[in-house]
């Protein structure tokens, strides 16, 4: 498998981004829902810190992934109706948008709340805004609605991939699988 994508299939870098970020997303969403149920205490702060650290990691990965995606060719889509092509492009654009929006709105929410931001006890990051109760409410809403939207779009993305695989019998899913080579 080549590092870069070709007309025939996705390269290993893209596949690593794809599945690595999925694992991190499943983790951060689980941690995100769990942490809000915890009683106030140091454990809660540590779980929040973990959520923020994963979120910052995902922000960097999303930027790198977008740059990588722009720098390489993408495999040809399987033959399908033009409306499906348009929906696919829009959905993928939305995914990239949400992958950037989620960490940024979380960072803003954290800043507006007046909390510190530390990446895995290694690096402290500056606040995006001063503590502000109105901005805090707004950023929180964006982060929460964005989370639901991201989960929804990812679920749709997965369902459509399964549809391509099992109903259309095309290579859409197979060529993204981590263990498959370039031959289908």
């Amino acid at each position: 498998m080549a590092l870069r994508s070709t007309a025939g299939g996705w390269g290993s870098v893209t596949r690593t981004f794809h599945w690595g970020m999925l694992v991190l997303l499943l983790g951060i969403v689980s941690v995100g829902y769990y942490m809000t149920t915890l009683p106030l205490g140091p454990v809660k702060l540590k779980i929040y810190a973990l959520h923020k650290s994963i979120g910052l990691t995902l922000l960097v990965l999303a930027i790198l992934r977008a740059l990588w995606r722009l720098s390489e060719q993408r495999p040809a889509l399987p033959v399908m109706p033009i409306w499906q092509v348009r929906v696919a492009h829009s959905a993928h654009l939305l995914l990239y948008g949400l992958l950037l929006l989620m960490p940024l709105s979380g960072w803003l929410y954290n800043s507006a709340s007046g909390f510190p931001l530390q990446w895995f006890h290694v690096l402290n990051l500056p606040a995006l805004a001063r503590a502000d109760p109105h901005l805090k409410v707004l950023a929180r809403s964006v982060h929460e609605i964005g989370a639901v939207a991201l989960i929804g779009v990812v679920a749709l993305h997965a369902l459509v991939a399964l549809k391509h695989h099992f109903i259309d019998n095309d290579v859409t899913l197979r060529r993204m699988l981590p263990w498959r080579g370039d031959r289908f």
Binding site: L40, P42, K46, F115, P133
Partner: protein, 198 residues
């Protein structure tokens, strides 16, 4: 007899009224490696001081803890709980000097600081600048929060919330009005009123 009485009054260290709007009691701690700042919006301070009468000088300060504001409503709520200041059982902190003495670097007061029912004697070096219009008192001390049972149990972890808390005092004191009974206590700002919504 009358003369002796007047003479006694003349040498007693004067009590200064505190100019609330220009005075502050601030603290600075660390959370997850990042510094945060807070203030106590209210405190009662009785400042009796004369540079040439350290034995007759006393500072007596009471701080209503619910006036704490660390610019973060969640953190403020946590600090109110029994793990931290325990506002319900210990609504006030106090600071009382027991002695003052001159050192090579300036005047240092020995003071009893009581927070959450625990009293520790600290050295309190301060800078006093007297002027015709009053005086200013500046001081900075570092306290160990665990000395006062602040952040007990799992909260004790220094990496999460730093143990060292820097307290910065700035008092602007008005002129002592001669012939009048000095204001013994000046309530600063709005102790009983709710904090402005943030």
């Amino acid at each position: 007899m009358a003369l002796a009485f007047v003479a006694t009054l003349a040498v007693a260290a004067p009590v200064y009224p505190v100019v609330a709007a220009r005075s502050s009691l601030a603290f600075s701690g660390t959370q997850q490696g990042e510094r945060f700042n807070g203030v106590f919006r209210a405190f009662d301070a009785r400042i009796q001081y004369a540079p040439d009468d350290l034995a007759g000088s006393h500072f007596d300060v009471t701080i209503p803890l619910k006036s704490l504001d660390s610019k973060n409503s969640e953190r403020d709520a946590a600090l109110a709980t029994a793990d931290w200041f325990d506002f319900t059982h210990f609504p006030n902190a106090t600071f009382r000097t027991v002695a003052m003495h001159m050192t090579a670097t300036g005047v240092v007061a020995d003071a009893d600081v009581t927070i959450k029912g625990r009293t520790r004697r600290i050295a309190f070096p301060f800078t006093w600048k007297g002027a015709a219009s009053g005086a200013t008192l500046d001081a900075r001390v570092t306290l160990d929060r665990l000395d006062y049972g602040l952040g007990t149990g799992d909260w004790a972890d220094d990496a999460m919330i730093g143990r060292k808390v820097e307290v910065t005092v700035r008092l602007v004191l008005g002129p002592v009005v001669p012939g009048e009974v000095p204001v013994a206590k000046s309530t600063l700002k709005s102790v009983g009123q709710p904090k402005p919504k943030r």
